[in-house]
């Protein structure tokens, strides 16, 4: 088949960028990585990109296709070529470009190192026996353990774009992999460290990381698990944690968010006093609902009673989020009708879907 690609070339020494178009003849089963190999082999030996395993294990070939981070070895090009679409290939985002499609991973590795990505088992000697970890205990960190550190999640992280010091989805998911490990003895120290500025509470919940991860790690969910566990351990002095706690207080007192009190409860009285002028501007347009009389939901006593009940259920901290994954995991592997879908990693349903112009993909109906 004939495959055409536009590739953003970049020469760091000269600082020059150029969008070049290439057209090749490739086998029908060719992936994007295969196509790049053919370009390099036959048309332009100076094209630079990373690769190694060619089977979604090594995490080397992360790059963007039509603006979305993918593993080049994951994306089959057949449908794209058939549609006559010429995809734009570029380097991943949020990392400095070295040459063409190669990014400097040093900032990425620095953040991975910053979360202490190794087990801290203490010095307990199991004697003649082993440290036994049960299957449910391992299940709690199954998803986080799947990370191949390709950087696709980091590429499109909206918080990191705005704050390059943000630890980011890959490093924090790695952190959860150890916080949730039954053998680790440094959980509290880890949670304290991850709760510092540029950590857990800097995630903007854009969910690009979950969307881009080729391995199903769902880093945003890992970050939520860290938040839940930190709060369970009483590590809750960050404004982000206080913000989250106010929603709980609101739900069990009035049912609805006590919106006007959210600012002082999050930021503290002193800092929120600086917001008075801003708040007055909002007040003129009814954007500051008066806290009195409170807006109370009907039968709010039920919500209060539920709060008391769940305190005894033992599903607190990250366990409370892990329990949701039993059902949600099926979304990855089954179609909406509960039957195992014939859905290989490269076929229909692989993500991101190649962009096929003119295809009506959005006439709706939901995922059910």
């Amino acid at each position: 088949m004939q495959v055409a690609l536009k590739i953003w070339r970049f020469d760091a020494e000269k600082g020059e960028r150029a969008l070049r178009e290439y057209e090749i003849d490739a086998p029908e089963e060719a992936t994007l990585l295969d196509c790049l190999d053919i370009v390099k082999d036959r048309l332009d030996g100076t094209l630079a990109y990373r690769k190694s395993c060619r089977m979604m294990i090594c995490g080397s070939c992360g790059m963007r296709m039509d603006g979305a981070a993918v593993l080049a070895c994951q994306v089959r090009m057949h449908d794209v070529a058939q549609a006559g679409h010429v995809p734009v290939i570029s380097a991943m985002g949020n990392l400095p470009i070295v040459k063409d499609l190669v990014v400097d991973m040093a900032p990425f590795w620095g953040k991975i190192r910053a979360v202490t990505p190794w087990l801290e088992p203490g010095f307990s000697d199991p004697g003649e026996q082993e440290h036994v970890v049960s299957q449910p205990q391992m299940n709690a960190i199954h998803k986080e353990s799947l990370c191949i550190m390709c950087g696709c999640c980091v590429s499109e992280c909206n918080s990191m774009e705005a704050d390059p010091d943000f630890l980011g989805p890959a490093a924090l998911a790695k952190g959860m992999r150890f916080v949730g490990d039954a053998r680790d003895q440094a959980t509290v120290e880890r949670l304290q460290a991850y709760s510092e500025p540029h950590g857990i509470w800097d995630c903007t919940r854009c969910y690009f990381c979950n969307e881009r991860c080729p391995k199903g790690v769902d880093p945003r969910d890992a970050i939520a698990k860290l938040g839940a566990e930190a709060m369970k351990e009483g590590i809750d002095s960050d404004m982000g944690a206080k913000h989250a706690k106010w929603f709980v207080t609101s739900a069990k007192t009035t049912g609805w968010l006590r919106e006007t009190e959210l600012v002082p409860k999050t930021q503290g009285i002193v800092k929120s006093l600086k917001e008075v002028k801003f708040a007055m501007g909002l007040l003129r347009h009814g954007k500051v609902p008066p806290p009195f009389p409170p807006h109370v939901a009907e039968h709010v006593g039920e919500a209060r009673a539920l709060y008391d009940l769940v305190q005894h259920e033992g599903e607190d901290g990250y366990d409370g989020i892990v329990q949701l994954e039993h059902a949600l995991g099926r979304l990855e592997h089954e179609d909406g009708h509960g039957e195992a879908a014939e859905r290989g990693p490269y076929g229909e349903g692989s993500f991101p879907k190649p962009y096929l112009p003119g295809e009506e993909s959005s006439d709706g109906g939901g995922s059910e």
């Binding site: 039509d66 603006g67 909206n158 918080s159 774009e161 705005a162 704050d163 943000f166 995630c203 903007t204 919940r205 854009c206 969910y207 690009f208 979950n210 969307e211 839940a228 709060m231 982000g240 913000h243 106010w246 929603f247 709980v248 049912g255 968010l257 919106e259 600012v263 930021q267 801003f278 009814g286 954007k287 500051v288 609902p289 807006h295 939901a297 009907e298 039968h299 039920e302 919500a303 009673a305 539920l306 009940l309 769940v310 607190d316 366990d319 409370g320 989020i321 949701l324 039993h326 949600l328 979304l331 990855e332 993500f351 991101p352 962009y355 993909s361 959005s362 709706g364 109906g365 995922s367």
Partner: protein
């Protein structure tokens, strides 16, 4: 008429009342009969999911149970964050009988009807961007938008994670564009339309949030937008109310009017001033109303 249970969520009850008022006024024109849920609480907005995940699950199960009790098969939301939180809880309960049983045991203990898993959570956008709702919308929007240039802003949690939302391609969505054009407006395109507005961290990390917020506003202005439309009241609040902070920080006074989806369709469908409530916006909507001579 399609009868749906209506969950308006916190903001439409409080600081974004204009969203609730315009939605209720517009609904019959697009074939929706709304049964408003009264005995429900906040969905937790992602915050209770993080602070007390099991409580989050129970609160959302309670909302779903009361929606099911109305006899409707659809729970309609008007907020991205409510949509994701409710759909996530719903999927977890529908797909895990043991979990559903445990939660139902607790619900019934406190007097809430048990939930059988028979409700689908749908955002208002999805109900009017496809099928019969879309056909009715085209007829209802008779007054048109006179070619106004409208920037669609989706917000995150109506697109991602797509395995939970799944209405449309999360990278190349087109529902808002289709609605803008059906209403007689011109949809403009810009890269940040699927990115984050920064709202979830706007109080805890304002600097980071503002660096996110400026992108869609600046890009939409550069692309010539007269106004922006969003299906999420949280996006609306940051895009509308925090524009003044962008001005203080960058010196740029964008003055970009931000419309709720129900207001955009509503103004094209000829809703009255008292139903649109544009005076509740911080950034003046005059550029829109002047052009349409509302």
């Amino acid at each position: 008429m399609r009868t749906v249970a209506y969950y308006k969520g916190c903001l439409a009850s409080l600081s974004a009342k204009e969203l609730d008022i315009s939605t209720q006024a517009l609904a019959p024109k697009v074939g929706l009969e709304l049964i408003e849920l009264e005995a429900v609480t906040c969905c937790g907005a992602g915050d209770i999911h993080e602070a007390e995940p099991d409580y989050y699950l129970h609160l959302n199960a309670r909302i779903l149970a009361y929606a099911e009790e109305t006899g409707a098969d659809t729970l309609m939301t008007v907020c991205n964050v409510c949509t994701l939180n409710l759909r996530q809880a719903n999927h977890a309960l529908q797909g895990d009988p043991a979990l559903l049983e445990r939660v139902n045991r607790n619900l019934t203990k406190v007097g809430v009807p048990a939930y059988s898993g028979g409700v689908e959570v749908m955002h208002f956008l999805w109900l009017v961007a496809a099928g019969e709702g879309y056909e009715l919308l085209k007829g209802a929007a008779h007054r048109g938008l006179k070619g106004l240039k409208i920037a669609p802003f989706y917000g995150c949690q109506i697109l991602r994670p797509s395995k939970l939302l799944g209405f449309e391609d999360p990278d190349r969505p087109s529902s808002l564009e289709r609605i803008i054009e059906a209403c007689g407006g011109e949809a403009i395109d810009y890269p940040a339309k699927i990115k984050c507005c920064g709202f979830p961290i706007i109080q805890a990390r304002e600097e980071t949030a503002l660096a996110e917020l400026i992108q869609p506003i600046e890009q939409a202005k550069e692309a010539g937008a007269d106004a922006m439309v969003t299906p999420c009241p949280l996006c609306h609040l940051s895009l509308d109310a925090w524009q003044s902070k962008l001005k203080a920080q960058t010196g740029k006074d964008f003055q970009l009017p931000i419309l709720h989806l129900s207001q955009l369709v509503g103004v094209a469908a000829g809703l009255a001033d008292s139903e649109l409530k544009f005076k509740r916006h911080v950034v003046s909507v005059a550029p829109v109303t002047d052009k349409l001579a509302v």
